[in-house]
Symmetry: C2
């Protein structure tokens, strides 16, 4: 097998998570003081593409753990539709995520918020020498995560983990931080267990339409699974909240569809019904979750982490990334060089 950048970057994730945990915990006192001094009333996460999907998952964890209202918007909305993003009555922290730190929309979002005194700006990026890092008030540097591939893999999980660590550090939630600290070790076990499954499933040519389902924080992860497959293979792939899927989109199901549900332990009874419908309409149901016991579906991927829904998020990704990777190889495409894409999107205007 050719050792592509994508493959290496997927496989080394648990080791990079260890370093992200070390980085964030070493900054704990400082970020607590920053938030205490600012007394923010809301936190808005933003990014583009993969980094926007980080934002969706991060915001759900952040609000749950800190009690501060948190949500996510694409970076373009921040400076093009600021009236529907910011409320001048509130003290806001804007958290911008970007692998390169040079994506025009994220840089412009931070600039816009600072120039108009709309928010304190916090950045999470893998490039300490970048416009985003330069312009933000506070930065989480992930300089140990340098990716050569066009598609983002380890940068997604590390930026998400950094945001989750922030969500645990601020309220001093030691139980949550304890769960996050276990991720590197559990992640190594998960990757060792899921790779051959991902390879087999990636070689399966029976499905031309992939549907990713996830709720709450898992909706961000499901979107990222969808985007990996779409970017690398151009296969038709979509994401829905599992209950929303029934309100119209379920009409597309047939035997060419593989539905990949990212299970949340807390909503299991609803998930069972959605999966029953998926199978009733002739589609294939693959469920990835922590423990799936007697769940009736076609393929089960068990993470067996024992972690809560909001802590184990990054553990879903290696399987989803490897599935896209092996599907790409089977199609004879180069995972490192997907069609129509550049590594950083720069706007002309």
């Amino acid at each position: 097998m050719v050792q592509t950048h994508t493959y290496q970057e997927i496989k080394r994730q648990p080791e990079t998570w260890r370093q992200t945990i070390g980085m964030a915990l070493s900054r704990a006192d400082e970020v607590k003081q920053t938030f205490a001094a600012l007394q923010p009333e809301e936190v808005i996460f933003t990014g583009c593409g993969t980094s926007y999907y980080v934002s969706i998952a991060a915001a759900a964890a952040f609000q749950e753990k800190t009690g501060l209202p948190a949500w996510s918007v694409p970076a373009s909305e921040v400076f093009l539709n600021p009236g529907s993003v910011f409320s001048k009555k509130r003290k806001t922290i804007l958290v911008g995520c970007s692998r390169s730190g040079n994506t025009t929309e994220v840089v412009r979002a931070i600039e816009f918020a600072r120039q108009n005194k709309l928010a304190h700006c916090f950045a999470i990026t893998t490039r300490p020498s970048s416009q985003l890092a330069d312009k933000a008030d506070t930065v989480f540097h992930l300089s140990h995560v340098q990716e050569n591939s066009v598609v983002m893999t380890g940068s997604f999980t590390n930026m998400l983990l950094a945001a989750q660590l922030l969500a645990g550090i601020l309220p001093g939630d030691e139980a949550y931080l304890g769960e996050l600290k276990r991720l590197p070790e559990i992640g190594e076990d998960v990757i060792a267990r899921v790779e051959s499954l991902a390879k087999d499933i990636g070689k399966d040519r029976n499905f031309s339409h992939y549907i990713y389902l996830g709720m709450g924080a898992q909706f961000g992860l499901a979107n990222e699974g969808m985007l990996k497959l779409k970017e690398m293979t151009q296969l038709f792939s979509e994401t829905f909240n599992p209950l929303e899927f029934r309100h119209g989109p379920i009409s597309v199901l047939d035997e060419k569809c593989r539905v990949i549900l990212l299970s949340s332990q807390s909503i299991r009874p609803y998930e069972r019904d959605v999966v029953d419908d998926v199978r009733k309409f002739g589609a294939n149901a693959l469920v990835i979750g922590d423990r799936l016991e007697d769940f009736q579906c076609d393929i089960k991927i068990e993470l067996n982490s024992g972690l809560t829904d909001l802590a184990r998020g990054v553990l879903y990704l290696p399987f989803l990334q490897l599935l896209a990777y092996y599907r790409t190889l089977d199609l004879g495409l180069n995972p490192d060089r997907p069609r129509n894409l550049d590594k950083v999107v720069l706007l002309k205007n």
Copy 2:
């Protein structure tokens, strides 16, 4: 031509808008008093499927016009992930949208919010005798909008218009209300002008993949355009924010793709660049907007309303609905009875 329910319900929209305007304005003093007494600090719009897409568009207009923070979530998130939806520190109004008023998730969302004293509940529904209408504290009844088709058409535009009227009534924004009052007359003209185009484009068999792009409030409308096509034809259809589209999904473009951009006058320079990329990769670009002048694209649909981006939203829908309708007829399917769908989604649990 068979006079399907779907067709009749699309065509009669401007007349129903007239009645929705009358209903909302007759309730102006009452809803202003309700909001003044409650002093809400945020407004959360919710719904399922088409009604969730109403919520996305409604929240953008609501925050812009009232200055109150407003956003949207799928109804299932309200009761299954309340910790990432509600902040106990804030006084919240939850606006639930549902054509039937009996969709389990919306009813459960309202029940959950009331039982836990999380929000004052406002409902927008076409069925005054429904669980949603019974359980909500305040209701906008759209009893003049009764639909027989499974797919929602006029109920989308009328629920959105009702929410927009609320957004104009509360701050007493007479300019915005004046724009909304012109919609029925302009809508009649738009439908008369766009139907033959929608019919021609609906018969065009060159495209198997439809991509809808829209930003801000237009993102909700783009989603609804996508869902109509998906529900009725099961063709591949997706929605993106136009700038987000470049961050990965653009890799899918080829000559089988038709991209439908719902233009916002305020972001035209960015839209031009996205459309240039769409054409560079061999796809077909259809743009629908108010005035498109020298916009370089394959097909232009001009609304010519003279209304602002946040007022003319419902005018995009007749073309998008008719396009899906005529595509459905061309495929030999019954628009009134889409595959795998029921009119109301009821949960077992």
